[in-house]
């Protein structure tokens, strides 16, 4: 069959025949084969979310064990060595295996729906990102479960992470696991960047993007630039430990501070990477319950990008106490103070949206709006430590622990739970229970504040972090007990959330297409959406395609029911980067074994590196190479080559 080089896509409306045709093209086959090969962004997104929530539960249990140990002075539930592994694994789990992947999950699920597309730009890469996340998470936890978990904090400073002081496999598991996980983050970020610029619905110009897209796009650009820093740092550490290099060893002319620079050049932008998409969820979700558009859309979008740009230049505020020159410290201190300005823009935009709207109090609204309060508290304590003298007083105390939990739980977990209440109906077709939701919210909110608000005081009273116990004459007893009680209340709240999810999956009220009367494209399709998302490609004429009637902004309206049919193959539309003018029909890849096979090869390779079993490394590398060859083999269905001649 001759392939046409140019085509004028048919425009029409949905029909039963048309849907059947699309379903045949897009549906993943059932059973194990479908599970292993699926490239459907919705399936991948849900897998990311479930896996991340499992890691959240594990990290939470680790925290509870530590809070038992710290509930009173001189307790001996844990040995110092066990405590070291627990707090390090807790940090690693929450920051790397929960906070970022859960946002990738939501964005993977939502992006094509928000953008009016049928999938991400690189569906197979999307599957690869998930599989590597899973494999590297298992790799890291294999270390923990065999008594070889990280034991030097998630930031893993040398020299304690060096072999002389840490001879076990602990740091090797952590170092190699992080390099492995970095591949997942990087391919995911690449996919988001290209998807944002190339596969949007016609008419969705860059000033009509939902803020969630701005948030994840910004975070992804940052990830492309900064993830190599941490991967390199961990790789060099592994070389130092196993091959006698001298990168961090002063005796060999190495520079221990190089570790801290490389780690925080990554680490601080990463903090923004795990909050900006969550802030985007609030910016998109909150206005729905305020029954009006977000106030200051352009300012919020620009401040998202501005936060990230400034965020590249603040890493040294993690290193104020390392003896760097004063001029350097003042520059980084200044940047760390200035960065509060773009963050404040978002806060005022949310407050104005609530003030000018007619709020409908739902559980999702409670989570989104309470996040504003937690964000302000976490922001102010961060602003305090941006000042060098204050930081010298507070560094390595529980004040910093309180700060970072306000930031990470406040700006990541609360929006994520809110987002689950908001988008669960879309993902499953059922509503989460609102009554249980109130219990869920208030238990989490009160428990969280009970645990972490007094912790600021614990820090001001001088209690150092990362220490497995304390003396009874220090006066920290009551505060620690309150924190421990709060931690358990918070955990009950999270448990109620899981209970609600499991119960509502079976017994929740059935949700229609658009149970919240929300304005964006994902609510124009059925709940859950069909494998192809949109039967016809919508054309977007405003920022709120489903609110055009009551916003009555004049001008043309969006076209949801009529559009390009694109049912001659597994196809979607590519559009230009800024104005979203259609410029290409994209042929999308079928389900494929290549991503899971490549992950398997890499997993074997990393296990081989860990054990320094070079034959295993070779086998893993060969599997990975074959998988990549199969992946990149040019295919005429994808128009990567000419059809076979003759």
């Amino acid at each position: 069959m001759r392939q046409l080089d140019l085509r004028t896509p048919l425009v029409g409306i949905d029909s039963v025949d048309h849907e059947a045709r699309l379903l045949r093209l897009w549906e993943t086959s059932p059973g194990l084969k479908g599970f292993l090969t699926s490239v459907d962004h919705k399936q991948i997104g849900i897998r990311y979310i479930i896996t991340a929530f499992i890691f959240l539960a594990l990290g939470g249990i680790e925290a509870l064990v530590m809070r038992l140990q710290l509930a009173g002075p001189n307790l001996s539930l844990l040995t110092p060595a066990q405590y070291n592994q627990l707090f390090s694994t807790h940090g690693m789990t929450m920051i790397f295996l929960y906070a970022a992947p859960v946002l990738s999950g939501f964005s993977n699920y939502l992006w094509p729906l928000l953008l009016g597309s049928r999938d991400m730009a690189f569906p197979r890469l999307n599957a690869l990102g998930y599989w590597i996340y899973l494999a590297s998470g298992l790799f890291l936890y294999a270390g923990f479960l065999t008594g070889n978990g990280p034991n030097d904090g998630w930031f893993n400073y040398v020299p304690y992470a060096s072999r002389d002081y840490n001879p076990g496999l602990n740091e090797d598991f952590y170092a190699l696991g992080m390099v492995f996980l970095g591949i997942s983050t990087t391919v995911g970020a690449a996919n988001f960047v290209v998807t944002a610029f190339r596969t949007r619905a016609p008419g969705m110009s860059i000033n009509r993007l939902p803020i969630l897209v701005w948030g994840t796009l910004t975070a992804s650009v940052a990830n492309l630039i900064v993830v190599p820093a941490v991967s390199l740092a961990f790789f060099l550490l592994w070389m130092d430990r196993q091959f006698g290099t001298q990168f961090f060893n002063p005796a060999g002319g190495g520079q221990p501070l190089l570790w801290q620079h490389l780690f925080w050049i990554f680490g601080h932008p990463w903090v923004y990477a795990i909050v900006l998409p969550a802030m985007g969820m609030v910016s998109d979700g909150l206005p729905v319950f305020c029954r009006r558009p977000l106030v200051g859309y352009s300012l919020v979008a620009l401040s998202t990008v501005a936060t990230m740009i400034l965020g590249f230049g603040v890493w040294v505020h993690h290193m104020f106490a390392t003896g760097l020159p004063g001029l350097g410290l003042s520059l980084f201190s200044g940047a760390s103070i200035v960065i509060t300005l773009p963050s404040a823009v978002a806060v005022f935009a949310w407050l104005a949206t609530i003030r000018l709207g007619r709020p409908v109090i739902t559980t999702a609204f409670l989570f989104f709006s309470s996040m504003i309060l937690l964000f302000v508290i976490g922001g102010v304590s961060g602003f305090m430590t941006a000042s060098v003298p204050v930081d010298w007083q507070l560094t390595d105390t529980y004040f910093v622990v309180a700060h970072l939990h306000y930031v990470l739980i406040g700006i990541n977990l609360f929006p994520v739970v809110g987002a689950t209440y908001f988008w669960f109906p879309k993902m499953t077709g059922r509503m989460l229970n609102e009554r249980l939701g109130r219990w869920n919210f208030w238990t989490m909110f009160l428990g969280f504040n009970l645990a972490f608000l007094p912790m600021h005081l614990t820090g001001l009273l001088g209690m150092p972090r990362r220490v497995y116990t304390y003396n009874d004459y220090a006066g920290w007893h009551a505060l620690n007990l309150i924190t421990s009680i709060g931690a358990f209340v918070l955990a009950i709240g999270v448990l109620l959330f899981f209970v609600n999810v499991l119960k509502s999956l079976r017994a929740g009220a059935v949700a229609g297409k658009n149970p919240w009367d929300a304005p964006t494209l994902e609510w124009a399709v059925s709940s859950p959406p069909p494998p192809y998302n949109f039967a016809v490609i919508p054309t977007v004429a405003s920022r709120h395609p489903l609110w055009e009637e009551h916003l009555d902004q004049g001008g043309a309206t969006s076209s949801i029911d009529r559009g390009m049919l694109l049912d001659e193959g597994k196809e979607t539309i590519a559009t230009s980067g800024l104005d979203a003018v259609p410029d290409m029909v994209l042929e999308m890849p079928e389900d494929s074994f290549a991503p899971v096979l490549l992950t398997l090869g890499l997993a074997v390779l990393f296990v081989g590196l860990l054990l320094k079993a070079w034959l295993t490394v070779g086998i893993g590398g060969a599997i990975a190479a074959l998988a990549m060859l199969a992946w990149f083999w040019p295919r005429s269905e994808l128009r990567e080559r000419e059809p076979a001649r003759g």
């Binding site: 140019l6 390009m564 259609p582």
Partner: protein, 203 residues
Amino acid sequence: MVEAALSKPENLPVGPTGRDGVGWWGVGTLIVTEAALFGYLLFAYYYTGATAPAGWLLETAPRLKLALPNTILLLLSSLVAWWAEQGILRRRRPQALLGFGMVFLMGAAFVAIQWLEWRSKTYSLGTSSYASLYFVTTGFHIAHVIVGLVILLALFSWTALDFFSPRRRIVVSAGVLYWHFVDIVWLMVFSTYYLTPYLGFGR
């Protein structure tokens, strides 16, 4: 009733055309992240060198006898890669095959000469932080060259199988772009390790 803004594009290209396609953007993101990786490697060099006591450099005047010709060889291979891509663009398959074959040989020669260069060093991986940085940074680059060689081999075979035309060749353009990147990054590594000592850095 307001008019709906319905998009009805005509005569759209189907699939990647020339080098225009999502894959091209994908290789672009790969290059950004890889460039960042080399940026951090060089940062590690400059930071460690700048904060080290005098005498950090193990070679105050690095020998250019092998490294300079090898650099020129790699840069020339980029030109040949461009010429090979032109062969696909102009439907001259023998030119493309010859080109990819030549680039492959030039790249392989670069790796061999770099191996000799490594062997000529009087220090080894664990001698000092300078030595570790030298071998690991150039090692990272060699690894990228080897990946590039595998890509060139694939492009050569696919061209031999007559897969490509001026229209359907995004894989070729992406692979050649990656080769250019590997060459340009070497220029940075070479300047850092072989030229800045002559300017006095790290003495």
